[in-house]
Amino acid sequence: MSTVTLIHGLNLAAIYGLMAIGISILWSSVGMINMAHGATFAASGYAAWQVSLIAQPLIAAWLGTGLDASIAMGATMIASGLGAGAIFGGLIFLLAYLPIHEKANFAVRSLIVTLAINLATVQLLLYFFGPRQRALPKIFGLGRTEILGIPIRNDQLGTIVATALLMLVVVIWLKRSRKGLEITAMMQNPEGAVLSGISVRWTALPVTMLTGALAGLAAILLSQTVFVSPTAGALPLIKGLTIALLGGLGSIPGAIMGAILIGFLEAIVGSISFLGQRYVLFSQFLFIITVLIIRPRGLGGLLDQTRESRNA
């Protein structure tokens, strides 16, 4: 495996991991498969693009075109992606969780509602922005940086580092903080959580916002290599969802491991000359199906039995 493939694989793993962890956390704590995760992705991309149109001349006038300016631009882009994702997550909470979370069969109902939100958002984006693809400013610059003698494209390096940092922060936050403990408690046993005085209803809001923000960040990072478009969220959604399944819904380490496996699989299959890009999806799904046949709980799923008691 060449180093280019290795870096490409890590880059993809980072982006898919952000999507998969969001879907996984949301399923295990709130009990909802969020089909609108792709819409969050696309909407955050557009929000960041809108912000970049406004911010670019402002930053250019203020800081010129030096390193300061590009750092400021990068920070603005990441902040707007995270913010827009969090707001969209809150919207999903209001539309797809709050009105129906106590009804029977919430898992299926919310799946349908979020799917509707997904379709509606894509159509709204098409209506307002048209099908034209938009480019986000390159927040990590265009050149290459040499690390340990390996030249790495800046955007890939930035994506990998930013994702690793953010995931570390999220995992530590979930483990150490009071809010994080609430979310973990809800993931592992909803009844135990309410008996500890945790409101399941209102803990769902920070969860949807957090997972939305992760999707927003994924949108900014992936838009460094592909363009922003109304349907840009479809593929990341499908990959995020299948990776979350591969990792065992609800398991964060499982999702990270799944993302790395799928990212590398995509990079390797894409780089083999007689297979190439058109076999990427095929090989990924074949891999996921094989794993799930052998190990139906996924790579790390350990919380199935505590999850089921809730919607019975």
Partner: protein
């Protein structure tokens, strides 16, 4: 004496099934009450309806004069966290544990209210004094513990909260006699001033002589105050 809990005309059940039939029940401050009866006669449902965790319920439940019962139109558990914050703690059957958390984290969950969170280390220490076996298991995952240790963690979590009414559902369920006795002894040793405890139990002999009152339960109705029972 001060009345902590007053239940009047409580009926509760699940869907078309009616489990409790117009129950009247009250708990005074400083009391330790044994709620005895066979399986399936409504002991757990009574406790769970105080926490607003059953399918449906109506009738008045007053906790320190504040109404926490009544018919509810929302789903089960919507109000539970508020009731916990008022000061009622339930250790449910089956323990409702968090398998992937360490014992320390698990206990912290009980001290989740803003005030208690700051003193969680002291409170954890107090719980470990009550259940000494937990001290060396502090960083073990709860999912890997034995049944008795889990029960201690579950009761410990309830003790971490700022509660004045403890509802302990079948503390001896599924435990070896020696261990269930240890758990119950720890419960009996807790200070009673300003607090009250209701212990649901099938095994009357375990409670005999150690509780202030015993209340029998049969087919969803309370069958009189048995009063102080001494079996030997």
């Amino acid at each position: 004496m001060h009345e902590i809990l007053k239940i009047e005309g409580l009926s509760a059940g699940y869907g078309p099934l009616r489990v409790l039939h117009e129950i009247d029940f009250s708990v005074q401050e400083g009391e330790r009450i044994g709620l005895v009866g066979l399986n399936g006669h409504g002991k757990s449902t009574l406790m769970r309806s105080v926490m607003s965790l059953v399918g449906w319920q109506n009738g008045s439940i007053r906790f320190k004069g504040q109404e926490i019962g009544g018919a509810r139109s929302t789903g089960a558990g919507r109000r539970t966290h508020a009731i916990v914050q008022l000061g009622v703690a339930l250790t449910p059957q089956g323990d409702a544990i968090f398998p992937g958390m360490t014992v320390a984290q698990h206990l912290d969950c009980g001290a989740h209210s803003k005030l208690a969170w700051r003193q969680r280390a002291q409170r954890r220490d107090a719980v470990m004094d009550i259940f000494p076996p937990l001290r060396k298991l502090e960083s073990a995952l709860v999912g890997t513990l034995s049944g008795g240790e889990r029960r201690m963690v579950s009761v410990g979590r309830a003790l971490m909260t700022e509660a004045s009414l403890y509802l302990i559902d079948e503390p001896s369920l599924g435990l070896a006699p020696k261990i269930s006795k240890a758990v119950l002894e720890a419960l009996f040793a807790l200070p009673k001033a300003g607090k009250a405890m209701v212990i649901a139990e099938q095994n009357v002999a375990l409670l005999a002589g150690r509780v202030d009152r015993m209340v029998g339960m049969h087919a969803g109705r309370l069958r009189g105050d048995v009063g102080h029972v001494a079996l030997s």
